[in-house]
Structure formats: structure tokens, C-alpha cells
Symmetry: none
Subunit: 235 residues, 4 copies
Amino acid sequence: MATVTTRKKGTVRLPQEQRVSDIMAAARQVISEKGYENTLMSEIAERAGVVEGTLYRYFDSKRDLMTKVADAWFEEVLESDTELPRIQGTRERLRYLIWRALMSIRRQPAMSRFMLLEVRQNPDYRHTRSFELNKRMTAEISLLCGQAIERGEFRRDVSVPILRDLIFGCIEHRTWSFLRGEGDFDIDEVADGIANVIYRGMAAVDRASKSEIENVVERLEKVAEKLEERAGGKR
Amino acid sequence: MATVTTRKKGTVRLPQEQRVSDIMAAARQVISEKGYENTLMSEIAERAGVVEGTLYRYFDSKRDLMTKVADAWFEEVLESDTELPRIQGTRERLRYLIWRALMSIRRQPAMSRFMLLEVRQNPDYRHTRSFELNKRMTAEISLLCGQAIERGEFRRDVSVPILRDLIFGCIEHRTWSFLRGEGDFDIDEVADGIANVIYRGMAAVDRASKSEIENVVERLEKVAEKLEERAGGKR
Amino acid sequence: MATVTTRKKGTVRLPQEQRVSDIMAAARQVISEKGYENTLMSEIAERAGVVEGTLYRYFDSKRDLMTKVADAWFEEVLESDTELPRIQGTRERLRYLIWRALMSIRRQPAMSRFMLLEVRQNPDYRHTRSFELNKRMTAEISLLCGQAIERGEFRRDVSVPILRDLIFGCIEHRTWSFLRGEGDFDIDEVADGIANVIYRGMAAVDRASKSEIENVVERLEKVAEKLEERAGGKR
Amino acid sequence: MATVTTRKKGTVRLPQEQRVSDIMAAARQVISEKGYENTLMSEIAERAGVVEGTLYRYFDSKRDLMTKVADAWFEEVLESDTELPRIQGTRERLRYLIWRALMSIRRQPAMSRFMLLEVRQNPDYRHTRSFELNKRMTAEISLLCGQAIERGEFRRDVSVPILRDLIFGCIEHRTWSFLRGEGDFDIDEVADGIANVIYRGMAAVDRASKSEIENVVERLEKVAEKLEERAGGKR
DNA sequence: GATGAATGAGACTTCATTCAT
DNA sequence: AATGAATGAAGTCTCATTCAT
């Protein structure tokens, strides 16, 4: 064949790991700025300081690269979390999980958009690392709710999957306009809002066991009775 | 493609309205069959019985055409609804609104996907007819909930916008895998599931027996009264 | 999408037929000079005075274009033949068919090479117009031989397909070095050579029916007998 | 591909001969499985247990490697033949040579294709070992035929080169569809077919009974004799 | 001698959009 | 008003070959 390559001398030789992470960093940058559709392999290559062909040494296709970038990001989000184990109480844990999701959206809106709009829509999303990580993430909520139900802290007549969809669906809905670039949102406020509704309303009351408020009231009633007795005796 | 249609110059000149609606019908058909990303202007033109150039006489761009198609579809979905006014009761109305949203997704998954993924993501979605219609649709839910709150049928400590996001977010979450083409879902089952959780739990008022909180409040009032009496007796 | 085309004014608008034939002419030219592998769509476009995209209006792919160029050439070769019907006699017709094949190779070596090396090797060659035309061409030989056999002019114990393969295989073998660009060959000489061997040797003798030579000999024998009788009677 | 082999620096330094033959074996394997056009240097390297760069220490280019592989294969085919010397009789030897060619095609279709389509088309095929070997192979046929002619077993009016081209051309034509991957062929049947036609017909000498032409000639001679006698009688 | 990361030229293809007719 | 041929920019991807290590 007539492919006679006259190679430039500017070749730098990096360890594989370094190259891969350079490329992924560049890719993440471009995706964040432009979104998947408008991301060009040529631009990623340029920013990573390599030629396009090099990208294909490490990634099978554009889609593959993009998916791996998304996976890595998702992994980071979940791994960087050292708080959860230290948080006590259903309500606080619930709030924290919602807060954490909101936080990752807030910090990396472009990656989040990419996740929701591209990665999740991929026909074989289900065979994706991101899918797995997402399952792990939603499992945390499911577990939390499931245990609360068992413990009698949450109502029995609520399906955990629907709870999960309510929570994550609500998070997404609340953040779409932010993701579209229209204005901002207050993480704490939203997290509280959602957590409160879910905790108080949807899952807070259990007809079978007595609620915390009820306990308090009972104690108040006993105090009142004693007061009455004393009053009656004194009178 | 090499489809060399040697069409005779028998150009038919239709009234503008007819042309526009032909084109929109063709466009809707194509989107429904192929999804937005696989919809070609050339195919729309072909099905509408015109050539590509003609499309640009009536629509500024592909995006413009698509947006108008989405708008029209949304309009139909809302307009075709003659049931709502006849339905009585917060719970039944709530269930119906959820059911109706699920139904339109079920009937036209491709249009729905298009709506959620493309139309809604459009940078100037807010100046869109679809945005307006969507607001109208969510307003129905908001109104319903707002009135229920005022009437004392729903709890006071719930923010209506969050309720709305819970409902629509949950609907979307529940239907994503269907929209991705993975399996199906049962409209009635999902509608019941969501409506029940929202109605029973979140808007935690039990109309048959008094609600827990109401009972508690009543009991607290009695305690307070007794304390007051005691105070009164002492005075 | 961001494809904002600022079109050049140099657009010439030709009737479809003209464009197609321009493109095919350009393609034939390039193929002839470079062979399939080294033929670039960009070069064809340039020579045809259009941009690459235009090629794809008329042809599905490079392969499609190439195939159609080959088909057209083959068609020309066969159609331009007005001689065959006027030629009489098995031997002369055979020689002519061989001559014609050699001639087309001689005139268009690059196209012939392309035909033998690329078109014929195509996995779906059998669904090609060229395949069909080739069958027609070989059918002429087969018919000729078949009729000669029936007429008793050719031997019975020879399979027509093998005859056909002998003839065309021999033509190809004889011309390969020419097609490789090494030297030349004399059409008449080769045509005579092949036709003679085939006619005389392979097909000339039929043990069952009497051959023409035999007939002649018989007549000679009869003459001889008469001469003998006369000689005997006279003596 | 993204196959990131983190091979340890355990470079094995083999004797040059071994390396070369490993590489050639790998190359042959790949060609056989995938055909020339789908053969990648990277795959050859992988199977040979070396890295791409190493191939270029031993071979100038892909073409060079491929050519040497073809040469070696051809050499083997010819060398491995210990039968020919033991076969007696023009006809049997002819059949055997045809059979051997068919056999090598049958056994290694990909190599054969490669030989016919690539090696033989190489601009400097004539300076190739394969060219030399091919000449030696065809020389066997030529010698056989030449001797048969001298011995009077074959007709005199047949050019040996044309005979050779008939034979090899026919073999190729018969096997193309097999080489294209369409169906199979029966080696013995084809070998018999070709050998019979060539032997019986083309080299039209029948050793058992006298050949037709010989018979005719004999009869003509008798006629001539009689005429001569008569003439003699008259004298 | 061996490695293997990097090159780079270019291949084919797509399709919304334009504008001469 | 309608046509539809033509545009052209950009897109993804391939692979033989090189050369710093």
C-alpha cells in the first residue's frame, strides 16, 4: 500500500495509565462543555495532546470512551463518599442520600446531563458499569427504606420500588431546569424538602405501632393525670 | 440513496394549511417509527409527498418542525381529554391524571421520548408551546393538591411543587425502561401504585377515621384544656 | 445541529443523467489509472467536478459505484458487437468469440483487471449485472459448442462447461502478464492459437458420427474404387 | 482495540531462524483464516508472540512478509510431492499434475486466493520466488507434453504454451467459485474431466486403437497407394 | 534485539440546508 | 410555490509503519 508515513519527532511516550487518564480527562472536559452529540473525537485528541488514532488504541469507539468517562465519574461520586456510614437515623440517612445525589448534579451538571440523557438512553445501558453503580446507589435507598419498614418505622403499605422512583424521579425533575442552564437551586433546601415529604408523609406514620409523637403525648397525658390527681387531692 | 424518482413536473399546489398538516403528519409518523435521532428530513419529505426543499418553506429547520410536531401532539393529548371534568374526588382525579400521563407515554413512546429527551432539553424550551402545555398539565395536579390542602383533605406541611415533581418524576422513572424499549408496563397498576402512595401517605389524611396527627392534636388540646382548668381552678 | 452551510455559488445544475454519466466516466478513468484499492472517492468527485457528497446521491457506496462502472463497461463490450450474427461456421464463430474477448482486454486492460480481480471476487458477485452479462457471454460459447456437438461436428465425450472453462481460463492465463503491464500480445495470433487447438483437437473428432474429414476420405475412397474398377475392367 | 496487555519485560531472545519461522507460521495461519485483505500485522504479531515492531526487524513490509509466506507455501507444495516420479504414462502423469494443483487449492483456499489475487498481481511478480516456482510447476506440464509430442503420442500441431495455459486456466476457472467461498468441488472428478479432455481430444492420440486421424491418414495412404498402383499399372 | 505507544494520512459516509431552475 | 441536485463540513474509524525507550 501507498501509506508512507513520515513521522513527526514531537512524540512523547507516556505510560499507558497516564495516557488513558489524560484522554479521559480531556474527554470529560469536552463532554462537559459540549454534550455528547457535539463532542468531537478530534477535539478530545487535541486536548489530550495526541492524534485521533491514538484514542482508538485505548477505546474501541467514541461511545466506548464516553461510556468509560461516565463510569469513572459515577465511580468517583460514589467512592468519594465517606460520610454515609457515620450518619445515624433513617431520616438523616435519607436526607443525606438525597443531598449527595443533588450535590453531584450541582457539582458536575454537564456530566449529570450526559448521564441522564446519553448514557442511560444507550440501548445497552443495562450492561454498563454505570447501570451497575446506579443500581448500587438506588439500592442504598431501597435498603434504607426496607429496613425502616421492617423496623416498623415506615408504613407497610408502600412499595419500595415506587418509593425509590419517587425519590430519584423527584430529584431529576427538580434539577432539570438547572441542568438546562436556567438558574440555580439550593441543595440543602431541596434535600430537606424531599426528605421531609418522604419521611413525614409517605413513610412516617404506622398505624400498628405507636409513633414517637404519640409517645410524647402519652407522657404528657400521664403528667396531666398526675396533675389532676394532685389537684383533686389538694382541692 | 440512489432512488432516482423521475417525477413528472405535475406539481400539485395545495392550500398552505393542507401542506403543513401533511408534513406534520408525515413527520410524526417518522418520529414514531424511528425515534428522533433517526428521523431524516428526506424521509419526512418523501412521506409527505413533497421534496426536501419544500419543508423549508414551511419550517425554519428540522428542529423547528420537530418542535411543532411535539407541540401539536401534546395539545392533542390534553385536548382529547373529556374525562377529567366528570371525575369526582381528589383521589380519583389524582389517579386519573397519573393514568392519563402514563397512557400517553404508552401510546406514543417515541413521541414521549422525543418530548423528554429533545424538546425539553432545548435551550429555549421555556419559550415553547410544549412548555406552556406542560405547565398547564402540571397545574392541574398542583390545583388538585392545593385545593385538597385548603379543604383540609391533604396535609399542610407539604410543598405543592415538590408533590408535583414527585408525581411526574416518578412517572418518568417508572417508564424509562419501557421508553428504552425494554419490556412493557401495566398502566393501571402503575397509576394505582403512584396514586396510592401519594394519596395515602404523602397527603396523609385518613378521611374515614381521624388521622393520627389529628387525634394527637385533639388529645393535646384536651390536655391543654385540663391544664387550663387546673390553672383556672387555682386562680 | 450546527451544520450551517454557506454554499458556494459555483453550483452547476445538470440533468441527472448527465451527472451520473459524468461521474461514471470519471470513475472509470480513475479506476483505469489506479485500480480499485487505490481509487479514492475524492478523486472521482474532483474529476467529475462535484463534491464527494454528490457521489452518494447517485451511488450507495464506493463498491456500488465501482460495480456499476464495471457493469456499464461490460454491457458496452457486448452491445457494441454487431459482427457475431454475420459470421458463419463453428470454427469462425468460435475464433471470433475468443477474439472479441481478447480485444476487450486489449483495449481496456485496467477495466479488465478490475473485472477479474475485484468485481468477480466480490462476495455477492452472483447478484451482479456483470455476473449476468458474463453468463450471457459464456453462454454464447456454450451454445456454439452444444450445437456443434448435436450436429455431430464436435465430439460427444466432452463436457461443455469444461470446454468453456478451458477457453476462458486460457484467455485469462494468456493475458495476465499483459494485464500486469508486462509487454503486449497479438490478438489474432492468440485467438487463432486457442481456436485451433479447441476446434481441431478437442472437439474435431467424433467417434460415433463420421467426421467431415472422414466423409472426404470416403468420397476419395469411392473415387479410388471406381478408378480401380475402371482400371480393373480396362485391364 | 483496547486490549491492554501489560506484558512483563520478560523478553525472550530467540535465535533469528526461530523467530522468522514463528512469524511466518503465524502469518500463514492468519491469512488462511481471514484472507489477505483482512490480515492485520497486529494479529500476526500477537500470534507469533511478538510485538508489531519486531515484524519489521525481519521483514521490510507487510507485502514482503506476505510474499515470503506465499513463497514458502508454494515451495512446500512442490517439495512435498514424492508421487510424481513414481507415476508412469503420459495420461496418468498429466492427471496427477492437475490433481495436485487442485489438491493444493482445496487444502489451502485462502493461500491459493492470495497467490492468484495478490502475489501474482504484484508489479514485480517476475522477480519473485513464487514466479520461479510457478515456472517450475508449469514446466513439468510443458515437459510432459513436449515429450509426448516428440514421442508421437501427442499431436504435433499444438503449441505447448497454449496447452499449458489451457490446463492451468481451466483449473483456475473451475475453482473460482470455491475460492469465493461458494460451495465445494470434487477434486477427482475435476481432475479426470480436465485430463480426459486434454488427453483424448486435444492431444488427440489414441494409443489402444489407432487414432481417428491416424486411421484417416492410413486410409488416405492406401488410396494414394492404389492410385499409385493404377498409375504404375498404366505406365 | 525487542518493545509497543504513537503516528497520520486518508478512507468512506451522512445529512441538514441552500438555491438555481 | 415547488423542485431536487448539490453542497460541504464534519464525523468516525483503520492500520501499516516508525522510533524513543
